[in-house]
Subunit: 285 residues, 2 copies
């Protein structure tokens, strides 16, 4: 079994996701090291037994010893880290990540990477509305999807290793998409929904309505509390797919608006029936 | 106490809301009669002790005996019902309703109504995604807002009677708005959110994405399962306020789109920070 020989795991970036990976893998018996520039994150994680070893700088021995590495960094610094430190990687190192956008990350990393190590991208579609290793929790994986995002550069062995990582961490559903398919999908189900929630909150000063909001408004705006640094970076890195999704949605909302203005009851009812029918599929899951 | 002398309650329209009012009032010791054109709704309600008496036609004695009446009809048939049967009303009858739009209902009813009875409008902001008296449940009021919507035609006694109805039914929060304020508010927090949810489901064939959706997409589209007959009627009866809200939202979403297209990271972050700050207020409730 491939996994037995990859017992030293290095996690780069020890926030909510990195910490959750660390907890899950340590519980499964792996030796987990972490590197994060925040000494407090490392101190806390060591104190709470989230990791076996941790450093607030690049500890060369730890990087050299790693059999597998999980990158849980902001996308903008991921490539830079790999450029700076890949000379330390053990030959045969298997790398994966947790980045929420793919096309603009995967190809660049794979192009830069040494030939004797392999990067197989993945997106664990899990999260919480809170941040930091202090809030990490491997149970967030249980109801979540895990998407492996291979390119033609990836070997079957790496793909299988990456899928098995999702399996042992307990994800509910494991799927495979190309970087382009992934980015279109994420533009729609995640990024567009966040833009809508934000715009609902910012389109007018609605704070006097707080006493009147029911569940529907609360549901639609729960994700309007958003990490602005991370999400603006993700949006910009997925600009074209997100713009396409926004334009499709804006056009549809505009059509509904025009039906309402024209008093087209039957047109609106048809949209509502289609919506009801489609949404029913999502309830079954 | 005003309530003691109004012991005979008539409910016109025995669906989810009418049935929930009936259950709550019957439990409080009132004598509850109901009229609904569906004989099965009446039969079921009698068999399950939801009402004391029920008719699938306008039973004249029952209307004459009523001290207070609650109208839980679709808005389009409410005015017609009052025109046809108000000659039966007992002098001093107090009427209220549960209609989700107000300006286009309240003034017409009050203009038509006999001088010796009074209509005070109310909107119980409660509901379920299922319909019919079979799904009625007075516990839906517990976490809900109850809005009294008086006009200058209403007496302080009627307003107080209507507020006390909300209190004894157990609503969490009771407020007062003018018909115009109510309709702007409902256009934003309820109708606009439903249009958004519907448009998210209809803007493209997204059914292949069902395996990839996380909580955010599910939250935003939960209300996309919608009673098309009722909601299209509510939208058309609140056309101008809803169009205004849609236009404000469309403009804001368009601004965000243009920021993204222009790569304006700081502009997007500012929107996200405002959104996060405003949404925090809604969490405290």
């Amino acid at each position: 079994m491939e996994w037995i020989s990859r017992k030293n795991i290095l996690i780069v970036g020890l926030g909510l996701m990195g910490g959750s990976y660390a907890r899950g893998l340590k519980r499964l018996g792996f030796h987990v090291s972490a590197i994060d520039r925040d000494p407090e994150a490392i101190r806390w994680a060591l104190e709470h037994d989230v990791i076996d070893r941790g450093y607030d700088h690049v500890d060369e021995t730890t990087v050299r010893d790693a059999d597998a590495a999980i990158f849980a960094l902001y996308p903008g610094v991921f490539l830079e880290w790999v450029r700076d430190w890949q000379h330390l990687f053990k030959p045969g190192l298997m790398m994966t990540d947790v980045t929420g956008v793919k096309s603009c990350v995967v190809y660049d990393i794979q192009a830069e990477l040494r030939d004797d190590v392999e990067f197989i991208a993945a997106h664990p579609m899990a999260g919480r509305e809170v941040y930091g290793v202090q809030n990490s929790d491997e149970r967030i994986f249980r109801d979540a999807n895990y998407i492996v995002v291979p390119t033609e550069k990836n070997t079957p062995e790496a793909i299988e290793w990456c899928r098995s990582l999702g399996r042992i961490l307990g994800f509910r559903h494991i799927a495979e998409l190309t970087p382009e398919q992934h980015d279109e999908m994420i533009g729609f189900v995640s990024q567009l929904t966040h833009v809508i929630a934000v715009s609902l909150m910012t389109c007018s000063d609605n704070t006097h309505l707080v006493d009147y909001t029911g569940d529907s408004f609360r549901d639609l705006t729960r994700i309007a509390r958003i990490n602005d640094a991370m999400w603006s970076e993700l949006f910009l890195m997925n600009r074209e797919p997100l713009l396409r999704q926004m334009d499709v949605f804006l056009a549809e909302l505009g059509r509904f608006r025009d039906m309402l203005a024209a008093g087209d009851r039957e047109g609106m009812r048809e949209k509502m029936r289609l919506s009801t029918q489609r949404r029913a599929l999502f309830d079954k899951k």
